[in-house]
Amino acid sequence: MPGQRDQTGKKLGMWLFLFTEIILFGALFVLYAVYFSWYPKDFILGAKELDLGFGVINTVILLISSFLVAASITAVQNDQRHIALAALAGAQVCGAVFLVNKYFEWGHKIEIGIYPGSERLLDGPAPQNLFFGLYYVVTGLHGIHIGIGMVLLAVSLVLVFCRRITAENDVVLDNCGLYWHLVDLIWIFIFPLFYLVV
């Protein structure tokens, strides 16, 4: 069936893109790991400044959102359009709550003088400046991915609503879902590396 083959190609294309994302974040993780192995004491002190509560809550939120996106695919396959719409809307809310938490988390750090180029970091030990530099780059890049993922989920939601995504033709939802799960996957590694090395 030609339609079937087309879907396979679209999915493989999405996966190839995701591999480039894995390498992108992988490179940042290597950078983190090397500096961590050089300056373990400073990195542990830096990690102690991070709020574990925010880290745990955001992890739980992203896991729930991934579940909802996976459930929306099951719902579309079962022709349960309303469940699919509710699940996608729920995942959207999770993404928004994640970003709001990030706003408060970063806001507090900036308030106490921890931000790239701040006097506190420039005058303090250099490895701690490295830790927080990496913290802002990695969580910031991840935050941008959350934003993009929310746009993709919104597009999927509208297409499900307009019956353009159906049980026979759900490759757009599948691919948007893959992107969202990858963003979750990256957070699964960010969380222990930054918050749990204390």
Partner: protein, 93 residues
């Protein structure tokens, strides 16, 4: 429809979510026990277990076809080469 047979039930997805939340609790709990360098490895092993669950169930890797699985494993392999060689370089500098 060979496609529909691969779809996971809500119950399976819910069980996987439960497992992911439990593993999150375990990794947070383990971070309170001071084992030195072992802590980092425990955290990475648990993170990999969580990642595998997400990949296989939420991302439908089990039914994604050989091409996706092989190319994914190659990505992990090349990532390992990158990590390994950089640490090799750093260690003998």
């Amino acid at each position: 429809m060979e496609h529909a047979s691969h779809i996971f039930s809500y119950k399976t997805l819910g069980l996987v979510l439960g497992a992911l939340l439990v593993l999150t609790g375990v990794t947070v709990g383990a971070s309170y026990i001071d084992l030195g360098w072992v802590n980092v490895w425990i955290a990475l092993v648990i993170a990999s277990a969580k990642a595998s669950l997400v990949l296989v169930v939420f991302m439908h890797m089990n039914s994604a076809g050989k091409g996706v699985v092989v190319s994914f494993l190659s990505t992990v392999f090349f990532l390992a080469i990158m990590i390994g060689f950089i640490f090799w370089d750093v260690a003998f500098r």
